[in-house]
């Protein structure tokens, strides 16, 4: 079925670097895991949201008196029940805090919340929506960025001239000089589609506000701390008076760390009614009102020498920001940076423009701007290699990053396994021999970050923190703010803690997803937790271990030149492993020695002096074998290999799952997941018309894992799982080019586009 190979494996670990079952496995396979979707509190009401049918309109009046007459309806809220605060996740930049979740006077996309009802059943709440009368003044809408920047386009947000929301500029080297050195320059325009996060658990929240002024919120999210801080802002409360709970979260993928209508409206309703209120989005609401991957227009100009040496690149990008900023500002930055990856450019210039339109806001989604960047970059590179008659793999290799390379002014690459990735993919392609006439292989390279170092959220807390507590019986409590959303965060942290402490994974109980009891952490986004929370956990565990070892020293009478260590629950002198003591016995004694206090270690991590973007970068190269029906344009994925460098793998089982999963989402972006809009209306907001990879469409996702050591990561680990969303669309595009000679400029690639391209090619050949 699938092949998983590890190249240059290390073997010095006890727990880490093995196959570990996820610690939440029993809960999840038996139905015990309780998601926000499953929460039921005493006295709970059910909320439903009335949404704007207009892409752009002024709200003149909302009259909900008729709704209030319906038996079972408890209350209705509108923008007037809120503080009217414009919020956003870029809290340092007030201009970019532009979204009222319940707008007071204007709606900017179809599906935007306008009012919310709470009733004793979901059905009554839904019925009540029909009895809320909203008077709108419909305004002209604009839906595409290139239209929205026109002089006569309607103004979506006051003060944003030509609807330009954010701009981003990245540049290094003397770009024009570098272009002058180039012997071949190619220009292309590309268009990249949006994509729905499509978490299996739709957005859901249960908020409970009590008369003493405290709020408890169960919420399906990727960062409990962000939710706490953002909710405090919009509710005018202190963070400490809000508790966010998120033990089990049914997927995130970049879509669940901003405020959404479910959490906000349930909280506002609960504050008004002093009853718990639950709101669960329908699948349609999830499609039309929860943000999406950012659609982009890319212009790329690339200059190379005839021998394939890369000289300069320039990219101008317009992104369809939709109605609000959200995390879109970060996606705008990251797409520009990763468009340069994984190559060395003497001169590089990127200008990104995020444009407001009257469509669903766009934001971060797994890959965070990089899948779009690679769709354009990796295809154009393939075409350049063909234009110059060069081997596309060797051309990529000679221009690639290497360990120690400095991306001018941006980042220093401390670990990089891309060179071996080329070898693995080359071998794989060779092993395939001659392919049938309807099949082709495409490749694509990329890199990705291991957490962002930027702090637009303006938090005074460390980016990650952890607390390790050793109980008298040797069991260990690990408190982290890292959010488990299915990626295996809790398991990863337990493994790092167990490795550092010298105990078993089963000895560790992980506490996460509860702001009352866990330290603040920025949460699960931008591939940050393994490196950042991992470092905090390692530090906390090492601190706890040191306290134990100090005690062990004191009682052992050993010469101080001896080093002590703990492995497998055995505390011993490294030089004389037979001399030691059981971890549990030692813990009990040590606690007595501390006047009965449990052993507590603290750890934290905030990146410093690590450039502009991220503390570490993963690298990968992917090959995808594609079958094309040239008469219908239908494509099928047959096989794939990803050669991948994520530093030191923590848990191979988790890593395999992340890479296979990323492949399926990335492949969907390449050829299935299409979000067409007409006059601001999404045309396929359901799982019948929005197509995703299913088991029958999924090819083998083989992996060659190249072990490297990342000095900044815990035990040498760095990003895995998000970066692999980046290459696949481009690899599919390159497969279409490689054998069939067609250049696809727009993704997702649909059969009709393939047929048209084949037809155009035929016509061109005929001339």
């Amino acid at each position: 079925m699938n092949k998983y190979t590890v190249i240059n494996p290390h073997s010095k670990f006890t727990v880490l670097n093995t196959h570990v079952h996820n610690i939440d496995g029993v809960a999840k396979v038996t139905g015990r895991a309780e998601y926000t979707f499953d929460i039921k509190l005493p006295g709970m009401l059910y909320g439903k949201i009335l949404r704007s049918p207009h892409p752009h309109a002024k709200i003149l009046n909302i009259d909900y008196s008729r709704a209030m007459e319906i038996p079972g309806v408890y209350g209705v809220v509108t923008g007037k029940d809120t503080l009217g605060i414009k919020q956003g996740i870029w809290r340092r930049y007030k201009d970019l805090c532009d979204e009222q979740i319940l707008p007071v006077d204007k709606v900017r996309y179809i599906g935007e919340p306008v009012a919310a009802v709470a009733a004793i059943t979901e059905e009554i709440a839904e019925k009540a929506l029909d009895y809320i009368d909203v008077e709108y003044e419909v305004l002209q809408g604009v839906y595409e960025p290139l239209d929205a920047i026109k002089k006569d386009a309607p103004e979506i947000h006051e003060g944003f001239e030509r609807n330009i929301n954010v701009t981003r500029h990245i540049e290094w080297g003397e770009v024009e000089e570098a272009f002058d050195e180039a012997e071949y320059v190619r220009e292309d325009w590309f268009k990249c589609g949006g994509q729905a996060h499509m978490c299996m658990e739709t957005r859901a929240a249960v908020s409970s506000y009590t008369p003493e002024g405290k709020m408890t919120i169960y919420s399906s999210n990727q960062s409990a701390y962000y939710m706490q801080a953002l909710m405090a802002g919009v509710l005018g409360m202190r963070e400490g008076d809000i508790r966010i709970l998120a033990q089990y979260v049914g997927g995130g993928f970049g879509g669940k760390f901003e405020l959404d209508g479910a959490i906000f409206c349930s909280a506002i309703l609960s504050m008004k009614l002093f009853r718990p209120v639950k709101i669960v989005y329908t699948r349609e609401e999830d499609f039309i009102a929860t943000k999406r991957r950012t659609p982009m227009f890319y212009y790329v100009r690339t200059g190379v020498k005839k021998d394939g040496t890369f000289c300069a690149r320039e990219a101008k990008v317009f992104t369809n920001g939709g109605a609000y900023t959200g995390m879109g500002a970060t996606a705008l930055y990251l797409t520009g940076f990763f468009h340069s990856f994984p190559y060395r450019w003497k001169g590089y210039r990127y200008d990104g423009y995020r444009v407001y339109t009257n469509t669903l806001p766009s934001t971060s989604m797994r890959g965070f701007g990089a899948p779009q960047a690679m769709w354009c970059s990796e295809q154009q590179i393939e075409w350049i290699a063909a234009d110059l008659g060069l081997d596309p793999i060797e051309m990529r290799r000679k221009n690639s990053h290497y360990e120690g390379y400095e991306v001018p002014g941006q980042a220093t690459i401390a670990s990089c396994g891309i060179d071996q990735c080329y070898d693995e993919i080359k071998q794989w392609i060779a092993s395939k021999g001659t392919l049938p006439a309807n099949r082709s292989i495409g490749i694509s390279a990329c890199g990705f970050m291991s957490g962002g170092i930027f702090n637009w959220f303006d938090t005074p807390y460390s980016f990650s923190s952890a607390v390790v507590t050793i109980n008298q019986d040797g069991t260990v409590e690990l408190h982290v703010g890292a959010q488990e959303i299915g990626q295996g965060s809790n398991t990863t942290m337990a493994i790092i803690c167990a490795e550092a402490l010298g105990v078993k994974v089963g000895d560790i109980k992980v506490h996460s997803g509860d702001t009352d009891h866990c330290p603040a952490d920025l949460g699960a986004w931008g591939s940050r937790q393994t490196l950042m929370t991992g470092n905090a956990v390692k530090m906390a565990a090492e601190s706890a271990k040191k306290q134990l070892l100090e005690f062990a020293y004191a009682q052992s009478g050993l010469n101080i030149v001896y080093d002590l260590d703990i492995k497998d629950g055995w505390v011993h002198a490294i030089a004389r492993p037979e001399r030691g003591e059981d971890f549990v016995k030692l813990a009990k004694k040590a606690i007595r020695g501390k006047d009965g206090q449990r052993i507590i270690g603290r750890g934290y991590y905030t990146p410093h002096r690590k450039g502009m973007i991220s503390p570490a970068y993963s690298y990968m190269l992917q090959g995808v074998e594609v079958e094309v029906d040239e008469e219908t344009g239908k494509i099928k994925l047959c096989d794939s290999l990803t050669a991948h460098d994520c530093g030191q793998p923590i848990n191979h089982l988790g890593l395999i799952g992340q890479l296979e999963g990323a492949f399926s989402m990335a492949a969907g972006y390449g050829y299935l997941e299409y979000m067409p809009y007409e006059d601001g209306k999404l045309m396929n907001p359901n799982l019948v018309d929005y197509k995703m990879i299913r088991a029958t469409e999924m090819p083998p996702a083989n992996i060659a894992e190249i072990d490297t050591y990342e000095p900044e990561g815990p035990y040498g680990a760095k990003e895995a799982g998000e970066g692999l969303t980046n290459p696949t669309a481009a690899a599919i595009g390159n497969a279409l080019f490689h054998r069939f000679g067609i250049q696809m400029k727009e993704c997702p690639v649909r059969p009709e586009m393939i047929l048209n391209a084949l037809k155009e090619k035929k016509e061109a050949q005929g001339k």
Binding site: N2, D24, G25, G31, A695
Partner: protein, 161 residues
């Protein structure tokens, strides 16, 4: 509309319910009986998160009226485990990392179990067809296929002593 009394047999237990006849089976199971292991992920019979077994066959419980399920044996994910011992398919899912966020897992496991009920030696393609009605956004399905394959081959069945 007249409320109706019906008896549903879920996981071997008879439950007497008094319900609006429009109640879907998934609503009866989750909201009336309180077995929340079974999930819902769409309104279009597309995602399979609500899959249960009706007389051993996989059926999407959002596509059936509770009234229609009277007289059948309904099995939900909670019904696979016996006295704290997981069924082989559940062990297989844990061993292969065949879930991530876990939200699709109960429905996926019911599809897998139903497939194994009727096909003791499924091919890889038959396994894929067997779970095609279930969307998993996290895993990319291959680890699920491996789990079902392993379970079919008896890898997770305890030897009888």
């Amino acid at each position: 509309m007249e409320k109706r009394l019906l008896t549903l047999n879920v996981n071997g237990q008879d439950y007497e319910l008094y319900i609006n006849p429009k109640t879907l089976l998934v609503e009866a199971i989750r909201d009336h009986i309180g077995l929340t292991g079974t999930k819902r992920g769409c309104d279009t019979v597309s995602c399979g998160a609500c899959t249960v077994m009706i007389d051993g066959m996989a059926v999407k419980s959002c596509s059936v009226l509770a009234m229609q399920a009277e007289g059948y044996r309904i099995t939900t994910v909670e019904g696979l485990e016996v006295n704290g011992k997981l069924a082989p398919i559940q062990k297989a899912f844990i061993d292969n990392g065949s879930y991530q966020c876990g939200f699709c897992a109960p429905g996926m496991i019911m599809s897998a179990q139903a497939l194994l009920n009727e096909n003791k030696n499924p091919t890889e393609w038959e396994i894929k067809e067997g779970i095609e009605g279930n969307i998993c956004r996290c895993t990319g399905y291959n680890s699920i296929v491996r789990a079902i394959d392993g379970a079919a081959k008896g890898k997770y069945t305890e030897a009888k002593s």
